[in-house]
Amino acid sequence: MNQIHIASRRDFLKRALTSAALLRTTGGAWLLTAAERGAAQAKSKVVIAQDALLRGTGFTVDSRRMLSLVDRAMQALFDRDNPIEAWRRLVRPGESVGLKVNTLGGRGISSNLQLVEAICERLQEAGIKANDIVVWDRDSGEMEHAGFRVSIGGNRVQYFGTDRVDYEQDLVMHGSVGSRLSKILTQRTNVLINVPVLKDHDGAGVTIALKNMYGVIHNPNKYHPNGCDPYIADLNMLPEIRTRMRLIICDATTAMYEGGPAYKPEHSWKENALIVSQDPVALDYTGWQIIERKRAQMELKTLEAENRAPHYIATAADAQHRLGMNDPTRISTVEV
């Protein structure tokens, strides 16, 4: 058994305090200028980056094309000519960055391995140490089924699930939610990059960025009634999540318009896209519309007609939550 001491308490505390202070001054719009922040508040930007040749002629995503797709998305999001500069708008050397992937759907529909590797590569080039990057989900076994190799210790990117470290002992609460948080979130990382997938969900309607946070808590099963509303919004209000969440890179290389959340190849399609934003609500709203368009194309009823529209997205945007924008007139969608 290999026990690895990840960070000293003092180091971590120092980093946490520094980043907390920075977050207090900048809010969610990390390292933006005042003008940029003002603009960001007026409209939420959602970038959709697509590459029809992402897989070449095969099935597997091409790593080089993926890296360039990530670059395009990040440069468009942060209005930068250089990808590393874009990442430097997001993170600072010395921070610990968690990539919360979604691996429930196995190899068929989980956060893409090449995408995760591309993000990790750029994070390191932006000054984050490899072993300060943790790729994680709730369970290491599920991560392995999705194609990730558990990797703990050494000077490399860390890959493991909450099963390896447990949840916090104490409950955190907001509104309808009372849960224990993954120690990876609370103790191992101070920046959260949410890397969800784009898919239909039989109860919630869709599962994209906001719902991916169900993988951060010990009791997600308690929060599925009523289409997960208001549970998803309340969960995302937890300060431990809200203050860490800086970016969402939704993997829409393969997406599902029906039959989720388990992988149903017959209801999936290759969108070969990434949807990127700092606003999880705007991103979820945009993703939902993409799924509805695909459903219409496949001559399926709307989610509303199926009585499972994702009302939690509106709840997340309401006056009690203000987690982002769900008004399409206040979402600026950029396609690259």
């Binding site: 076994g141 703990i152 390896r164 010990h218 009791n219 599925h224 388990a262």
Partner: protein
């Protein structure tokens, strides 16, 4: 405050498997001490303290651990690999690879499985009075066990760290039915009790343990919220020798807002148990300001009298702030006494006050001659005078199961 975090290669953190249970100190560490101490005193080694039992099985709890995975009994297959669970009134419709609300049942390719068969996360030898069952073999011990999970989410749950968790998140031991029966016998327990979390959600296991126990001459009792469908109740609790139902309130709004359940199915369960002839006692946890009005106490007592009769023991117990309800005080004893007075006035014969050590309403008195019949100190019956199921003074029959 951030703390150091250790990541273990190949294993979960080595945390204690003992859980806080009512009657012991309520934080985990204190409970561990309590479990180990009482386990040692009773000669209980294996389940009370896993380190003394099967340590290699504690720690790494694989989600797909086949030993604990058994096809569920009460469900219906639907289209598109979905299922509808028919175990409790919630009737979760569960898609492939998903779990029901209780978190311990999973749809795998259209077949529904319980993940907690023989997966015991808490075990202890308790006096039967601790359940509480006051009219059932007083002074005897119950080999008490639980798995993770619950089909409701009471904001005051004392055992939330096992009930509101998924099975793979807490250490557990493999305890097949025969082993439980053997352990109960070995520890001088005439009864196995399914308790601490919510036995509804481990019904398949409960049934198999009850069968193994009965073959070995050990009875079974269940401590339940009664939130279960009728067919499952008849099948699973049909194997029980006595039942304690937590009736959490007498209003649907409380069930909706505080319990995340429904009152009506619980009342239906009580009536069904009555028809089945099961010995049943009711506990009502009195939570200040939320379910402590005179009208609610009166409505409850009248309903019990009309539907179950005057001989059903009714325990009003004291609330302690826990879990999501930490902002309310401990129930004042006068509130409990008011509840008892109302139920007494409605004509119920056996109304008790619980969780208040030394209170005279912990004792059993003859409803005819009012003489003391069973005296209780804490969780122990210190004096038991009932003979041939009757009051020794006036010969009035006293309902219950008094002798092994």
């Amino acid at each position: 405050m951030f703390r150091d975090l250790q990541v273990l290669e190949g294993k979960s953190l080595d945390i204690s498997s003992a859980r806080s249970l009512p009657g012991c100190s309520l934080d985990r560490r204190s409970f561990l001490k309590c479990a180990v101490a009482s386990g040692a005193a009773l000669g209980l080694g294996e389940l009370a303290h896993p380190a003394a039992g099967i340590p290699s099985e504690v720690g790494q709890q694989k989600q797909d651990d086949a030993r604990f995975t058994v096809e569920a009994k009460f469900y219906q297959k639907l289209q598109n690999l979905k299922i509808k669970c028919k175990l409790c009134p919630r009737e979760c419709t569960v898609g492939d690879r998903e779990r029901g609300y209780c978190g311990v049942r999973e749809n795998r390719g259209g077949t529904y499985y319980t993940l907690v068969h023989s997966r015991v996360c808490a075990a202890h030898v308790d006096p039967v009075e601790k359940k509480p069952l006051f009219h059932y073999l007083p002074g005897t011990l119950a080999f008490s066990l639980a798995t993770a999970g619950c089909n409701v989410n009471c904001k005051f749950c004392q055992n939330w760290d096992i009930s509101q968790t998924r099975p793979e998140q807490i250490p557990a031991e493999y305890a097949p039915p025969q082993r439980v029966a053997n352990l109960a016998k070995q520890h001088g327990c005439p009864t196995i009790a399914y308790t601490y979390s919510e036995p509804v959600i481990f019904s398949e296991y409960l049934m198999d343990v009850a069968d193994a126990g009965h073959e070995a001459g050990i009875r079974s009792i269940v401590v339940s919220n009664g939130y279960i469908q009728e067919e499952a109740l008849k099948t699973a609790y049909g194997k029980m020798d006595a039942v304690k139902i937590d009736l959490k309130a007498f209003s649907e709004s409380y069930y909706r807002d505080v319990v995340t359940g429904q009152l009506k199915p619980v009342l239906d369960s009580l009536v069904t148990l009555r028809k089945m002839g099961k010995w049943t006692e009711i506990v009502y946890l009195v939570v200040p300001t939320l379910n402590d009005s005179d009208s609610e106490f009166r409505g409850l007592a009248q309903w019990v009298k009309t539907n179950l009769g005057t001989d059903v023991p009714l325990h009003f117990t004291q609330f302690h702030p826990e879990y999501l309800l930490k902002n309310l005080p401990i129930t004042p004893v006068p509130t409990l006494e008011r509840a008892k007075a109302i139920a007494d006035a409605e004509g119920l014969h056996f109304v008790y006050i619980g969780n208040v050590p030394g209170h005279p309403a912990q004792n059993t008195y003859c409803p005819k001659c009012s003489r003391l019949l069973v005296e209780r100190v804490g969780f122990t019956a210190s004096q038991m005078l009932i003979k041939k199921d009757s009051c020794p003074f006036c010969r009035h029959p006293i309902p219950g199961i008094w002798h092994t």
